[in-house]
C-alpha cells in the first residue's frame, strides 16, 4: 500500500462500502499502476459513499468492470482506489413493449444479450472484447460491425445514472426513446474513459432480434480491386447491417463481408443482390472466423472518410510491409473505422514510426490514428491520442466535473 495515502482510509472505505473493500495487491494493477485499495460496491448508493470517502482522502479512482480493457488509453498517473463494479450486475427494468432496458453498469454484455434474446430483442452492440461489461463498452465507446446499421453505442444510450467525483448522484437522459429535456450528457459520458464520473446504471434502446442473418463474403487481391465493389455496396438498396473488412497479413487478400438481417425470404433476396454487387461472393449462415474480433495484441485505431477506406488499407499495408511486420487489419469499412493489430514484441521505436505514418495517412483521410492498446513500456514513448481538436474545451469540461482530478487522472486525451 502506498504510504502517500492517509491512515484510516481503508477503515472508512470499509464503512462506506459494507459490500467489500480491501487493500490492493500486485494482481490488481491497472495498466501497470498498482492501486492502494479496492472497493466492491453493490449499488449506486454505495458507489456514492465510496467516492465521497475517496475524495476526502484525495484518492484517485479508476473504475473497473470485468477488467478487459484496463490497458486501453494512457495509463492512469496514480490509482488510489479501484471501484470494482463486478457485483453491480443485472437488469433493473425491461418492459419489452417499450424496447428499452435499464441495467447495472457491471452487467456483462453477453448476459444482457441472453436475457433480451428471451423476448426476441437485443442491444445491437457487438461484444468486440470477450467478457466486456456494458459499462466498459460505454466508457470506451467501442463498437463493432453492427455500428453500420444501428449506430455506435452512443447512439443507443438513452440515459444513465452517474456518480460524480464528490459522490453526488445524478441522472441524465431518460428511459423513453425520445427525449430532448436538458443536455445529452449520456453522449458526453460515452467514450469518456471514466474521467468524468462513475456510471452505475445505463438505459439503452433495443431492437427486435432478426429472424435471419446472412453473411455475404468475397475476397479481393488488393484494396484497389476492392474499392469499386465497396462503393457499390454503400450505394446498394439491400441495406446491409454491417460492411466489414479483414486482411490477415499485409499482403493477404482483402476479405469483405456484408451482413444482411431481416425476415427469411426478403433477407435471401437482399443477400442475393449483395452477392452480385460483390462478385463471386458466397452467402453463409455463419460469420467468417474473423468477424467482430479485434486484432492485437498491440492495437492501433484508424479512422477516415468512408471513401478513403481503400487507401487507408493500402497505406497501413505499406508501413507494416516496409517494417517487415505481420499485421492484421480489421474493421468497419462502411463507417470508416479500422483497427491494426501488431505483434507484442514490436520494438517501441518501430511502433512510433508506424504510428507516425498512420497518423499522416489518417489525417489525409480526414480521420485520426490513435493507440488503443500497447505494452506499458511502449506507451511511454508513444503519442497515444495524437492531435485532439477542441482539447481546450475538453479540459474545461473535465475541470468542471472533476476539479480535483481524481477520476482516472492522466488516462485520457491531453493528460485529462
Amino acid at each position: 500500500m502506498s504510504p502517500a495515502f492517509a491512515p484510516g482510509a481503508l477503515q472508512d472505505l470499509e464503512r462506506a462500502c459494507p459490500s467489500g473493500a480491501r487493500p490492493g495487491t500486485e494482481v490488481d494493477t491497472i495498466d501497470g499502476v498498482a492501486p492502494s485499495f479496492l472497493a466492491y460496491p453493490k449499488d449506486t448508493r454505495e458507489v456514492a459513499r465510496v467516492l465521497k470517502t475517496a475524495s476526502s482522502y484525495n484518492l484517485p479512482v479508476v473504475v473497473r468492470g470485468a477488467g478487459t480493457k484496463q490497458d486501453w488509453g494512457t495509463p492512469p498517473e496514480r490509482v488510489g482506489l479501484v471501484v470494482d463494479l463486478s457485483q453491480m450486475t443485472g437488469v433493473v427494468e425491461h418492459v419489452s413493449d417499450d424496447l428499452v432496458v435499464r441495467a447495472r453498469a457491471g452487467t456483462p454484455l453477453a448476459s444482457l444479450a441472453a436475457t433480451l434474446a428471451g423476448v426476441r430483442q437485443r442491444l445491437p452492440v457487438d461484444e468486440v472484447v470477450a467478457g466486456s461489461t456494458i459499462g466498459g463498452v460505454v466508457a470506451t465507446g467501442i463498437s463493432g460491425p453492427l455500428r453500420y446499421g444501428h449506430g455506435a453505442v452512443r447512439d443507443l444510450l438513452l440515459g444513465l445514472t452517474v456518480v460524480r467525483a464528490d459522490g453526488t448522484v445524478a441522472r441524465a437522459g431518460s428511459k423513453v426513446v425520445k427525449n430532448v429535456a436538458g443536455y445529452d450528457l449520456p453522449k458526453l459520458f460515452a467514450g469518456s474513459y471514466g474521467t468524468l464520473g462513475v456510471m452505475t446504471e445505463l438505459t439503452f434502446k433495443l431492437r427486435p432480434l432478426p429472424d435471419q442473418r446472412l453473411f455475404v463474403s468475397a475476397s479481393y487481391p488488393s484494396p484497389a480491386e476492392m474499392a469499386p465493389h465497396l462503393a457499390e455496396l454503400l450505394r446498394s438498396q439491400a441495406v446491409p447491417a454491417a460492411i466489414e473488412i479483414d486482411r490477415a497479413e499485409p499482403d493477404a487478400a482483402v476479405q469483405v463481408c456484408a451482413l444482411v438481417e431481416g425476415r427469411p425470404r426478403p433477407a435471401e433476396v437482399r443477400a442475393d443482390l449483395l452477392s452480385r454487387v460483390m462478385r463471386d461472393a458466397t452467402v453463409s449462415l455463419e460469420a467468417p472466423p474473423w468477424w467482430g474480433s479485434l486484432p492485437g495484441p498491440v492495437t492501433f485505431k484508424l479512422t477516415g472518410a468512408i471513401s478513403a477506406v481503400p487507401s487507408l488499407i493500402g497505406q497501413a499495408r505499406n508501413c507494416c510491409a516496409a517494417a517487415g511486420l505481420p499485421a492484421r487489419l480489421w474493421g468497419s469499412a462502411g463507417t470508416g473505422v479500422l483497427y491494426l493489430g501488431l505483434p507484442s514484441g514490436t520494438d517501441p521505436e518501430q511502433l512510433a514510426s508506424i504510428l507516425d505514418q498512420l497518423r499522416t495517412a489518417a489525417s489525409e483521410a480526414q480521420g485520426h490514428a490513435t493507440v488503443l492498446r500497447a505494452p506499458a513500456k511502449s506507451k511511454a514513448t508513444l503519442d497515444i491520442w495524437g492531435p485532439v481538436p477542441g482539447l481546450d474545451l475538453m479540459r474545461r469540461v473535465k475541470q468542471r466535473f472533476d476539479p480535483g482530478r481524481l477520476l482516472s487522472p492522466g488516462r485520457f486525451v491531453g493528460g485529462i
Binding site: 419489452s96 443536455y183 433476396v269 470508416g336 485520426h368
Partner: protein, 489 residues
C-alpha cells in the same frame, strides 16, 4: 435602448467590426425577430446581426464576450419552446442568411452545410446522388439545420432513423468566448469527449454552429404507407404495441384521435374513414422485399386489433393524401377552437393507452377539450389543449391542464419534451423531471463552455436559485421577467 445602457457600447463596437447592412437596429425591423414559433414569449432585441459568414458570427460573439453582452442565436425561428426569444439587453445573432450547401460528398455519404440551410434543402442536395437526410421535422421546408442542431430535431420518421444527433458527425462552432473550434468531422470517433454529441440539443447555450457535417443515407428502395381506422384509441394503441412486438421497425407510426380527425376533416378534407375513433398511419421503408412482407404483417396485426378499414397508398399522390391530414393537424385546430396549446411530452410506449384515458379524464374534469395527435411509435404525445381566449380564465385553465398532462408523463417515467425543447417554456417542468443534482450536473457542462453566462442565458436548463451553487449561467433578470411577460426561475 438608451445610449448609456450596457449593450449600447457593444452595439457601437459591432458597428465597427461588421460590414454595413449586417446590423439591424430599426425597431420596426427588429419586431420581426421578437419571438419564435411559440408566440406568447416575446422580447425585442437591442440589435440583430444578420450574419452571412462564420467570420461575422465569430466577430459578433467576440464583441459580445468583450462587453459581457448576452446573445441569442436564431435560425429560421420555427422553434416551439421560446428557445430563440431574444434579450432586450442583448444581441440576436441570425444565421438564416448563411444558407450555402458547402459540399455534397456522395462517396462519403456526407454533406457539409451552413447553419441557415433548410432541413429540406439537405435532402434536395442529396437527391441527385440517391441520398437523403433522415431527420424530417414537420417544419422541414423552412426550419434551418442550425436550429435542428440546437434542438436535436426529430420528425415523423425518427422512430426508425433517430434524431439529428444520430446524423451530425461534425461541427464548426464559435464558442461563447468567440473562439472557432472544429468538433468531430467526416470520420467517426474523433479522440476525446464527444462534444458534438453534447452540443447537439443544447438549445443554443453552448455556442453557435457555423458549419455542420451531416450524414446522408441511400434513399430507400420502397416506401409503403398504410392508414388504419379503429373504433377507439384503445384498439389503435394495442395495434401499436402489437406491431412493435411483431419485431417490425416501421419508419413512422402516427396516431390521431376522433377530435383531431374532425378538425383535419374540416380543414383539409382528407377523407379519413367515417366513424373512426382513432386512425393510425404506419409507414415502412427499406428494401422492397422487406417492406412487402412487413406491411402485410402490419395489416394482419391491425385487423386482429379491430381495424375496420385499411387503406394503402398506391403511389406518391395517395401517400401524400394519407399524410395530408396528419401534417395539417396543428393548423387545423383553428377549426375547432379560437386558441390552443400544443403540448409535447413523452411516455413509455406501453403506457400510451392508459395515459390517453388519464388525459381524457383530466379534460372532462376541466371542461376543456383535448385533441390528441402523436408519434405513437415512440410514445411522443402532442395533446392539443383547446380554449377560447375570450372567455375569462379559460386560458389559465387550459395551461393548468396542459401542465397536468406533463405531470402524467413524468409520473410514467417519461419526458417533458420529446422534440420541441425546453427553451423558456419548460424550465419549470425541468425541475419536476430532474433533481437539483441532475440539473446542477447539466450546468457543469454549460459553465465549461460559457463561464460568463452570456450565451442564450436563462434557457434550456433552469439555474439554481440557492446561494453557493456552481457558476450561474444567467446573470440578472430576464427581460421577459422584467416586462412581466414570463416567470423565469
Amino acid at each position: 435602448m438608451s445610449p448609456s445602457s450596457p449593450v449600447a457600447a457593444a452595439v457601437k463596437a459591432l458597428g465597427s467590426v461588421l460590414r454595413s447592412g449586417a446590423l439591424l437596429t430599426d425597431p420596426v425591423e427588429l419586431a420581426t425577430y421578437e419571438c419564435d414559433g411559440l408566440t406568447n414569449f416575446r422580447a425585442r432585441p437591442a440589435v440583430a446581426v444578420l450574419a452571412t459568414t462564420a467570420e461575422e458570427v465569430a466577430a459578433t460573439v467576440q464583441t459580445c464576450a468583450r462587453f459581457g453582452t448576452p446573445f441569442v442565436a436564431r435560425g429560421s425561428g420555427t422553434g416551439l419552446s421560446g428557445g430563440s426569444v431574444p434579450r432586450s439587453d442583448g444581441v440576436l445573432l441570425v444565421t438564416a442568411k448563411m444558407r450555402s450547401v458547402l459540399s455534397v460528398r456522395p462517396e462519403d455519404q456526407r454533406a457539409i452545410v451552413e447553419p441557415g440551410v433548410t432541413n429540406l434543402a439537405v435532402s434536395r442536395a442529396g437527391a441527385p446522388h440517391g441520398l437523403f437526410y433522415a431527420p424530417d421535422p414537420s417544419s422541414q421546408q423552412v426550419c434551418s439545420v442550425g436550429g435542428n442542431v440546437a434542438e436535436n430535431s426529430g420528425g415523423a420518421h425518427c422512430l426508425k432513423y433517430g434524431f439529428t444527433t444520430n446524423h451530425v458527425t461534425g461541427l464548426e462552432v464559435v464558442t461563447p468566448e468567440g473562439e472557432t473550434v472544429e468538433l468531430g468531422g467526416m470520420a467517426p470517433d474523433t479522440p476525446g469527449y464527444d462534444l458534438v454529441g453534447a452540443f447537439v440539443g443544447s438549445e443554443g447555450t453552448l455556442g453557435v454552429a457555423t458549419k455542420v457535417t451531416l450524414r446522408l443515407l441511400p434513399m430507400p428502395e420502397a416506401v409503403q404507407t398504410m392508414l388504419a381506422a379503429f373504433a377507439d384509441v384503445d384498439s389503435a394503441g394495442r395495434a401499436v404495441s402489437a406491431i412493435v412486438a411483431a419485431g417490425l421497425v416501421p419508419a413512422a407510426i402516427e396516431m390521431m384521435d376522433a377530435l383531431a380527425i374532425s378538425a383535419v376533416e374540416a380543414a383539409v378534407r382528407c377523407e379519413y374513414p367515417a366513424g373512426a375513433g382513432a386512425v393510425l398511419i404506419v409507414e415502412l421503408d427499406g428494401p422492397r422485399a422487406e417492406v412487402e412482407e412487413g406491411i402485410a404483417e402490419v395489416r394482419r396485426v391491425c385487423e386482429e386489433e379491430g381495424a375496420f378499414e385499411i387503406r394503402f397508398a398506391a403511389d406518391n399522390t395517395e401517400r401524400a393524401a394519407i399524410w395530408r391530414g396528419r401534417k395539417a393537424a396543428f393548423a387545423a385546430m383553428g377549426r375547432l377552437s379560437p386558441s390552443y396549446i400544443v403540448q409535447d411530452g413523452v411516455v413509455p410506449r406501453s403506457s400510451l393507452g392508459d395515459v390517453l384515458h388519464e388525459i381524457g379524464a383530466l379534460s372532462e374534469e376541466a371542461g376543456i377539450r383535448v385533441a390528441n395527435v402523436f408519434h405513437a411509435g415512440d410514445g411522443n404525445l402532442h395533446p392539443l389543449v383547446l380554449f377560447d381566449d375570450q372567455v375569462l380564465g379559460e386560458e389559465e385553465r387550459a395551461e393548468e391542464l396542459s401542465e397536468a398532462i406533463l405531470g402524467l408523463c413524468i409520473a410514467r417515467g417519461g419526458s417533458v419534451t420529446g422534440e420541441h425543447g425546453v427553451g423558456l417554456h419548460k424550465l419549470a417542468a425541468m425541475e419536476k423531471m430532474f433533481s437539483p443534482e441532475d440539473l446542477e450536473t447539466m450546468l457543469l457542462l454549460r459553465s465549461a463552455f460559457d463561464p460568463e453566462g452570456i450565451c442564450n442565458p436563462g434557457k434550456a436548463v433552469p439555474t439554481p436559485r440557492l446561494c453557493g451553487e456552481p457558476p450561474r449561467p444567467c446573470q440578472g433578470s430576464h427581460p421577459l421577467q422584467e416586462a412581466g411577460v414570463a416567470e423565469i426561475f
